[in-house]
């Protein structure tokens, strides 16, 4: 089985090729450089593996949550390649990718994942690894206030992701009176294409695939603009666009 995975959802930019469960990868911390880098990374990986696109079984990408622009780049690149070569696509959650990166690093199988979502919020989910080699959502992914996030009932967990780095105080405060014990804290953990490729291999075997146009980002944050109330003449005279990109 051969799967090409890409991820541009956070400050990391990466591509990975899983060839019969061997993963080769390119990974670079490159905020705002993803659009310049990602295709070259893919191209070099394919050359290094001496593979042509027609040898691939599927594509995978980090579908979000993450930076809006970043997850659209990953979705767009995936759509373009998948459409050109009639390849199926496996979208993978970036929060789940963090859980998988954590497992590889520490062997942890219970992970509380948080990505800094800006605007004083986090993208949040809790995952548990089961004996079929699959990540199960214990807490569904969501965008929320770090002071009020919902957490699992009990257990020993590893905390991973940049959300922990940004809001460590409010998040540990939140867990103070819970039955949660944080075993390890990995606040610098970022998702990676290699982790996405491994998750995708599993999903591929279970036939969890979509086509090119269904390779869409998952934003979680959907209230991105507010509708104007009746504007005054003077307000109408100024400004034509509403700015809301984050």
């Amino acid at each position: 089985m051969k799967i090409l995975a890409i991820d541009t959802a956070t400050e990391a930019c990466s591509a990975a090729l899983s060839i019969d469960n061997e993963v080769i990868t390119r990974y670079q911390l490159a905020p705002r450089e993803h659009s310049r880098l990602i295709l070259k990374m893919i191209d070099r990986l394919m050359c290094e593996a001496e593979l042509s696109l027609s040898a691939l079984d599927a594509l995978a990408f980090g579908q979000g949550p993450g930076a809006f622009m970043g997850i659209r780049i990953a979705a767009g690149v995936t759509q373009g390649i998948a459409y050109a070569r009639d390849l199926p696509v496996i979208p993978v959650s970036n929060l789940m990718a963090i859980a998988e990166v954590t497992r590889k690093q520490t062997t942890a199988e219970h992970v509380l994942c948080a990505i800094d979502a800006r605007m004083k919020e986090i993208y949040w989910a809790a995952y548990q690894y089961n004996n079929q080699g699959e990540w199960m959502e214990v807490i569904d992914e969501c965008v929320c206030d770090p002071q009020t996030m919902i957490y699992p009932e009990h257990g020993r967990w590893t905390a991973a992701g940049t959300g922990w780095a940004s809001y460590i105080d409010s998040m540990t405060d939140r867990l103070k009176n819970s039955n949660i014990e944080i075993e390890t804290l990995l606040p610098a953990c970022l998702p990676s294409a290699a982790a996405i490729a491994r998750i995708a291999c599993h999903n591929y075997q279970h036939g969890r695939m979509v086509n090119a146009e269904q390779a869409q980002p998952v934003y979680l944050r959907n209230n991105v603009a507010s509708k104007p109330r009746q504007k005054t003449f003077m307000a109408l005279l100024n400004g034509n666009t509403i700015s809301s990109e984050s």
């Binding site: 759509q79 666009t241 509403i242 700015s243």
Partner: protein
């Protein structure tokens, strides 16, 4: 050479298939006007989200319409700027990776160059050199065009773009978004002579424009008229701004006449100054019938010719991008393996290509 064109710089997703031998083979467009209408303007994040949903379905549709298999494409052209960065990035990501995966060259196209060359989609295309008046929602400029990529800027708007002035004035008048076509439609019912708007900058030398004063003038006119209506008990119903439907039509007409006159006067001045025989008008506002008509009369007086795109290719579309990209690809231009998107991009920075 058969080229796929992809436009996503603002609020339209436009896809087209253009053949250097046979011309335009197919084009598909998805407009986001309804999506943004309730916000009263384009919301960049919503625009980006919509593009990434519609790009592939529209590409499929255009190729099916053209009766072309994706493997027969020789190149991909996409708008790399200027425009909304997130919107551009959606199109650029799909376009650049599609070209790479099909193993064909990609070329980045300047959105305004696309507009400028759009009249070349017509049966009677202009030949170089020509003078171009670009009037869209974001730009108003006069350029001397010697060839592709050889653009000398002669004048531009110092404040609002012409289309922007149409849009804002239409909004003031309660005519909806986008305002250009709505205002033109209202003006049809207008009577000339009730109001007279100034012609900004026509009495000053040079080829620059200024349109922001017109909308302020429109606002003042509206307020004065509304006061008068209140004092005089008019028999027709008044709208939220205190105007009758006829008032709105009359003000729309006065505005349109002033805007069009200004564009015509400056174009005439440029035509004389540059000793040019051909004038191209392009961009959204070039769909305006009054502008086409008056420009036609002016050009005739100077024994010159006027060119403009079909109405559907005046506003944003994929066809103009496919055409511009095709010309550049034929000249051997192609882009390295990078996704390019720039919010700002000067037209004068474009490489020129030698036409044969």
């Amino acid at each position: 050479m058969i080229v796929l064109g992809i436009e996503s710089s603002c609020d339209e997703t436009g896809i087209a298939v253009y053949s250097s031998e046979e011309g335009l083979l197919a084009h598909a467009l998805h407009s986001q006007i309804a999506l943004h209408a309730e916000y009263g303007g384009v919301v960049p994040e919503l625009a980006s989200r919509d593009h990434i949903r519609y790009l592939i379905p529209l590409i499929k549709q255009a190729l099916a319409q053209a009766g072309i298999k994706k493997k027969t494409l020789d190149g991909v052209a996409y708008t790399a700027g200027p425009g909304l960065i997130g919107a551009l990035m959606s199109g650029a990501s799909v376009a650049r990776s599609l070209a790479w995966a099909l193993d064909i060259p990609a070329v980045e196209v300047h959105h305004m160059e696309g507009h400028l060359l759009a009249p070349m989609l017509e049966a009677r295309p202009p030949s170089f050199p020509f003078l171009a008046l670009l009037v869209s929602g974001g730009h108003t400029l006069l350029a001397d065009v010697k060839g592709i990529g050889q653009y000398a800027l002669l004048g531009q708007s110092l404040d609002d773009a012409a289309g922007e002035a149409f849009d804002k004035t239409a909004k003031l008048l309660g005519l909806g978004y986008p305002g250009g076509p709505a205002l033109a439609a209202a003006a049809k019912q207008g009577h000339a002579g009730y109001y007279h708007f100034p012609r900004p900058m026509v009495d000053r030398p040079g080829l620059d424009f200024s349109f922001s004063g017109l909308k302020t003038y429109a606002l003042n006119t509206m307020m004065k008229q509304a006061e008068k209506n209140l004092a005089e008990t008019v028999e027709h119903p008044l709208n939220a701004q205190g105007l009758t439907e006829q008032n709105v039509a009359d003000i729309a007409l006065a505005f349109e006449q002033a805007a069009v006159d200004t564009l015509v006067v400056k174009s005439q001045r440029a035509l004389i100054q540059q000793h040019c025989q051909r004038l191209v008008i392009a961009g959204g506002v070039s769909a305006n019938l009054r502008l086409r008509e008056q420009m036609g009369q002016m050009v005739k007086k100077h024994h010159a010719e006027l060119f403009y795109p079909a109405v559907e290719f005046c506003t944003d579309n994929g066809a103009m991008i496919a055409l511009a990209g095709c010309l550049r690809l034929q000249a051997g231009q192609m882009q390295p393996l990078e996704i390019a998107a720039r919010a700002r991009w000067s037209m004068q920075a474009l490489p020129s290509i030698n036409q044969t």
